[in-house]
Amino acid sequence: MTTAGLEFRDVAKAFGAVQALRGVSFTIAAGDAHACVGENGAGKSTLLKILAGIIRPDRGALSWAGERVHFSSPREALGHGIGMVYQEMLAFPNLSVTANIFAGREITGPWGRLDERAMRARTQELLTQLHVPVTPDTSMERVSTACAQLVQVARALAFDCRVLVLDEPTTSLTDAEVDHLFGVVGRLRQQGVTVLFVSHRLPEVYRLCDRITVLRDGQFVGTFERATTPSDDIVRAMVGREPPKRVPRVSSPVSTFAPAELRRTSPSSPALQVRGLSSRPAFEDVSFQVAPGEIVGMFGLVGSGRTEILETLFGLAVPDAGQVAVDGQAIHVRSARDAARAGLALVPENRQRQGLFFNLSLRHNLVLPLAAKQGVGVIRDAGEEAVARAQVESLAIKTPHLRVTPDALSGGNQQKIVAGKWLATTPKVLLLDEPTKGVDVGAKFEIHNLIRRQADAGMACLMVSSDLPEVLALADRILVMREGRLRGELPGAGATEEAVMRLATQEAGGTA
């Protein structure tokens, strides 16, 4: 069974003063499905990028099938059958889905003539397998974030790879989509493909992988057998101390789903009231309200229109119809600035595109929305430093200092920056789109607590998440979307995964 597979031997890598990997050694048996887990910034992506030939290690070696290999470019790694899905979701916005999937390895006739028909057919096949609701000719810039993530997976699956490396491929996916993905990966495994999987969702790790390697602070902690290791042990290995107790349902006693009770705690009107909001074809006739102190979760399958609703509320898209009121006053926002001034904040779904300034330091990134909202004229270093530092501390952002740019942070820490820069504005209504995407278990717990604390102080919160356990753990009330319409509402306390999923998939026949 354990034929010589992939071996990392004493791999080390430093970025300036930051030691990302400190001599990591472990082995993955050929044909194995192996997970690599660890806190944000533990060095997982760095390790994977070394395998993919993107980063050159400072020292250490790789071997594959007993043979020492050295990849100095992604091209070489691909040539050795290493297919990778990157955490950053790198796409070509100017090309079609088909062209994205085959970029660099097109099916060609003589002289490099493109065989569009063959590529299109293969793309259709992959999209069907993964249940991605887009056509092969769709331009990539029109594909929603979650679908784009699946297209990235399709990219890696399009070739006969011997090692499939997946760096957090499921962060915007719900269980339904993850099922399709794992089905495809399972078939590949049967064909003898080795899988290396990174995720912060431990249940997924347990579903897919036989063995789990834990990294902590760039160090190898151990490789564990799925069958014999309870997940608490994994978490303990990751954080290096007793794990936080099984992420408990955080909810304050004041705000539960009971309209009468709500009216009592906030005799005024709801903080956010949405009536008949439509923006065809993304969503239609959506009405709901969020009370101060309440956390409302919005769940739905990929493409059900959740992101569009949040962006419309935040003034980034113009609705066809409907009214929005904040604190009982109708608002007509035409830009994010209007929305911010009306007391709204949006933590966007795509941190790379919509959230971060890679040319600005962390401090500037963290204070920008606050400064824009307050109409700051002169930059006051000390005050800003304090605001930024507070966010870094309360979100446990792992960074050497505040003057680095976001590209020096790991994916999960980048996500915390995006959340932090909007939390700093202390809005009346906080809109969150996949707020804990790629964030590790411990930090997720911290973010939940933070949101809960702000809610208890009177903030209303509307959270879109594809991570159903997260929604169940945090939300006072759950709204379920399907195909652009609100299909139901469940109290957060009593809801079960099954009940939510039933609403989210009913009538659609289980597929999107």
Partner: protein
């Protein structure tokens, strides 16, 4: 499949047609033959536009990779000088001289791409430097004089029965067709678009980004050199200051033809149509009496109006 009017190039073509229709109406003669709408004038427009158009194909390719090439005017000038030098001074055959001329473009492309890919200079600076050096080389070779090729070339020269004046437009159209197919139907073109769309993603996808860029700059250099040979042969002169400042017109042709300076989007056929749009303006404006000092203003307005119209059409279509 895309509808015809959704094809990007069609909207540029429609603008060209509208422009020709406008001048046909505006310059309608009170008597006799039409001064604008006649075969001779059409040939004239084509002949002069081809100097810009051939180079604009290369400019579009470079811009699609996300770069820019400021050296095209200088390459055209130096190519005419080098071709002239070998044909007139060294008394080589025209073909051999033209091949030496093409070396100018090849060397410019290699130099630019070495600076951009190897030394990691921004394309603007690398090609600005190459522009200075190649333009300067022309002055050093000629000492500010020129080579008169026309004296050695046959008068009323015909190639395969057609006047030499038809050659530049034919070369332009042929090259546009070839590169349109290469860009849309071949792996090389796909790689150009991919590199311009997202360079990091291209690298991670295993594309040889450096090589792709090198081929783009070399192609642009060679195409500019073909413009230079056409200029030297059809116009009969090799002179260092020829095509001075044309790089901006060439880039503008590509951009008017739908190529985006942020990279990843564009069309070589559109670039040629863009060159023709400017060519028609250059031809028709002098025919309007009393507007002497208004030319620049009209060209400036036209550029803006054309691109706005184009935007509107593209939006309509989608």
């Amino acid at each position: 499949m895309k509808k015809v009017w959704q094809v990007r190039e069609v909207s540029t073509l429609m603008i060209l047609v509208l422009e020709v229709a406008f001048f046909t109406w505006y310059l309608w003669p009170s008597d006799g033959g039409h001064p604008f709408l006649n075969v001779g004038n059409a040939l004239l427009i084509l002949k002069y536009s081809s100097i810009y158009g051939i180079a604009a194909i290369g400019a579009a390719i470079v811009i699609i990779t996300g770069g820019i090439d400021l050296s095209s005017g200088a390459v055209i000038g130096l190519t005419s000088v080098v071709t002239g030098y070998f044909f007139v001074q060294a008394e080589w055959s025209l073909t051999a001289s033209a091949v030496m001329g093409l070396m100018v473009g090849l060397s410019a492309g290699l130099a630019s791409s070495w600076l951009i890919v190897g030394m990691r200079l921004p394309p603007f600076i690398a090609t600005l430097g190459v522009m200075g050096i190649w333009r300067g080389a022309g002055y050093i070779i000629t000492e500010a004089r020129f080579y008169d090729l026309s004296a050695k070339l046959p008068r009323n020269w015909t190639v395969a029965g057609v006047s030499i004046d038809w050659v530049p437009p034919l070369v332009m159209v042929t090259l546009a067709a070839i590169f349109q197919v290469l860009m849309k139907r071949f792996q090389w073109g796909r790689a150009i678009f991919a590199v311009g769309g997202n360079e990091t993603a291209a690298l991670f996808s295993g594309l040889r980004v450096g090589l792709v860029k090198t081929t783009a700059y070399v192609t642009a250099g060679l195409l500019a050199a073909i413009s230079g040979v056409v200029l030297a042969v059809v116009q009969g002169q090799g002179k260092a200051d020829l095509a001075n400042g044309y790089e901006l017109d060439i880039i503008a042709s590509a951009v008017v033809g739908g190529t985006s300076l942020t990279g990843g989007r564009g069309s070589v056929a559109g670039a040629v149509l863009g060159a023709l749009i400017f060519g028609v303006l250059r031809n028709a404006l002098p025919q309007i009496p009393g507007a002497t000092f208004y030319d620049r203003v009209i060209v400036g307005l036209a550029v803006i109006v054309i691109v706005v119209m184009d935007q509107v059409m593209v939006k309509r279509a989608s």
